[in-house]
């Protein structure tokens, strides 16, 4: 009996929490006249949707493409540079590596909204704003790289040291031991961390908004904020845009939820 009371309470709490998401999806299907009526309707009376219309009129294809390009660039460099560092910081233990871990952890706390001032000024002086998507990737990696190293390190800590030692004794070079023996055992953690970095970069806003001056290269978040900032506010269009943008993120997250949660908690409380 107690279990079912708890179940009902939890169900109510979850429903209240999920309401903003519900509201986004339900607004997508409302008609223009229904949108501004008061009291608002909780279920569309005459469902209609303008998915394709919003997608093409707002040029979402180009926005999403730019988000995808910057997110993929960020993930590629982060994984390339970060995996080795996570491994090194897991396997080598001395004064220097613990200082390095300390630095990485502290750097993770730096807010983009504050770091953007010196980055913008310096990039402008160096001419990096001429290649805006590259500028965003470079800036965003300073945020994702520490995050990735911290998330990924525990999956290397789990790998027994003896495996590496045995490979070295067998005559493998340290590089072969890393690629041939250790990396395959940490692949799960690497994948989960890479996906989290991707999802984070796909929704990045501060750097895209600040460093990309040419609309042609703007990302989906900036396109959305321009849509919201328009003088005549088109809520149905805005919610349609939002739904098209976040649905793939939500699906990816739901599919990988178990692994992501396990990875996160291992990284957080190792």
């Amino acid at each position: 009996m107690k279990r079912y009371i708890l179940f009902v309470i939890a169900l109510c709490v979850t429903a209240v929490y999920m309401f903003p998401l519900y509201w986004m999806y339900i607004t997508v299907f409302k008609s223009a006249s229904e949108m501004f009526q008061y009291p608002p309707s909780f279920w569309p009376q005459h469902p209609e949707s303008h998915l394709w219309q919003v997608f093409s009129e707002r040029g979402m294809g180009n926005f999403l493409w730019n988000s995808l390009v910057t997110a993929c660039g960020t993930v590629a460099v982060t994984v390339f540079v970060g995996t080795g560092a996570a491994y090194a910081l897991a396997f080598v233990q001395n004064r220097w590596t613990s200082f390095a871990i300390f630095t990485v952890l502290v750097l993770q706390a730096l807010p983009s909204s504050l770091m953007v001032t010196p980055i913008f000024t310096a990039f402008k002086a160096l001419g990096l704003l001429e290649t805006p998507r590259l500028a965003v990737v470079i800036a965003q990696i300073t945020k994702t790289l520490p995050f990735y190293i911290v998330l990924c390190r525990p999956s290397f800590v789990q790998v027994p040291r003896e495996l590496r030692d045995a490979a070295l004794v067998d005559g493998a070079s340290p590089m072969r031991a890393f690629f041939g023996v250790i990396l395959p055992l940490a692949v799960n953690g690497i994948l989960v961390s890479a996906i989290l970095v991707f999802l984070q970069s796909f929704g990045e806003y501060v750097y895209a908004r600040s460093l990309i001056l040419d609309d042609q290269y703007q990302t989906a978040t900036v396109g959305l904020s321009a849509f919201v900032g328009a003088t005549k506010i088109d809520w149905i269009g805005i919610m349609t845009y939002s739904a098209i943008f976040v649905t793939p993120i939500l699906i990816a997250f739901m599919l990988l939820q178990r692994r992501i949660v396990a990875g996160l908690t291992a990284g957080a409380l190792k």
């Binding site: 279990r3 999920m18 903003p20 009526q37 952890l105 730096l110 990696i141 908004r209 805005i238 996160l264």
Partner: protein
């Protein structure tokens, strides 16, 4: 084994070069901007002038300028309120949820998973959805509050200076709750079950068990959650950009958004970098205290 390994000269050279690669990147693109920001805050910066890294030194003039502005006091109070209230509410709600989902009932872990959807959503999209919910004339929040007789007339959440900051805080709490809940759940799961069994045998009621066992055992986790929450709240930008942009009349302006507006909207980089330097110092202090106290290990 150790004697064997000693035969490999500089056995860790490969690993160290891997770490150095990443650290060099961070040094160049995070460390240097950090220092450059401090330098900027003591310089007179005019972006219209030809690109240069060295500019006239003006001492503390930028800081005096920032603190002399009429909105400075308001921003300071708002920032303290924003961080303080967001943190308090996130932790209380997160803790209650973690306790709820630690109980044994059907679909507990599935429902907890749904909460994390809020964590993965881009902050800007969350802000946009809340903007619709907060709408004064046709917003659903006003409707629900009036239906339940908590309100007698509509509140214009985002355009009323008395409410705008609290609206932003509410949305920020929504965004922060899942992460708090997740970390606190992990902390709860680590408490040995036999402690509770022993206490129950001794006749302790649930409240006594919570105060006597749960809270003391959760001290380290709570410390971590407070520090991480403070850092995440001081990073919050997207929500403010989507909801109020610091307005109306700076009523919901907080330091990190102000700094960005100064630097990148009105192009007063000198003033923006002064605000950024002060906030960055604060964030770094919290981060250093936190990382040191948790022995370098605990941070997502």
């Amino acid at each position: 084994m150790n004697t064997l390994l000693r035969r490999f000269p500089r056995a860790n050279a490969f690993e160290i070069s891997l770490a150095v690669f990443a650290l060099l990147y961070l040094l160049i693109f995070a460390g240097l901007p950090l220092i450059y920001n401090i330098v900027l805050s003591f310089q007179q910066v005019d972006l219209m002038e030809p690109a240069t890294l060295l500019r006239p030194f003006v001492g503390l003039a930028n800081y005096r300028d920032v603190f002399g502005r009429p909105e400075a006091r308001q921003v300071l109070i708002n920032t303290v309120l924003f961080v303080g209230l967001s943190l308090t509410l996130q932790i209380i709600i997160g803790f209650l949820l973690a306790l709820l989902f630690a109980q044994d009932f059907p679909f507990a872990s599935a429902m907890r998973g749904l909460f994390l959807a809020g964590w993965i959503m881009p902050g800007l999209v969350v802000g946009v959805i809340w903007k619709l919910i907060f709408a004064g004339d046709y917003g659903v929040l006003n409707h629900v509050l009036m239906q339940t007789h908590l309100l007698h007339e509509k509140i214009f959440w985002l355009s009323d200076p008395a409410w705008s900051l609290y609206a932003v805080i509410l949305a920020n709490v929504w965004l922060g709750v899942p992460f708090n809940m997740l970390l606190l759940s992990v902390g709860l799961a680590a408490i040995p079950a036999d402690l509770y069994e022993a206490a129950e045998l001794d006749g302790a009621n649930p409240l006594q068990r919570f105060v006597g066992i749960t809270l003391p055992m959760m001290k380290a986790t709570l410390g971590a959650v407070i520090a991480l929450g403070a850092i995440m709240t001081m990073q919050q930008f997207d929500l403010i950009a989507a909801l109020t942009q610091g307005g109306p009349a700076n009523s919901s302006q907080v330091a990190q958004f102000w700094s960005w507006q100064l630097s990148l909207q009105t192009f007063e980089v000198s003033a923006g970098s002064a605000v950024a330097t002060l906030m960055l110092l604060l964030v770094l202090v919290v981060a250093v205290i936190y990382v040191r106290s948790t022995r370098n290990e605990r941070m997502v």
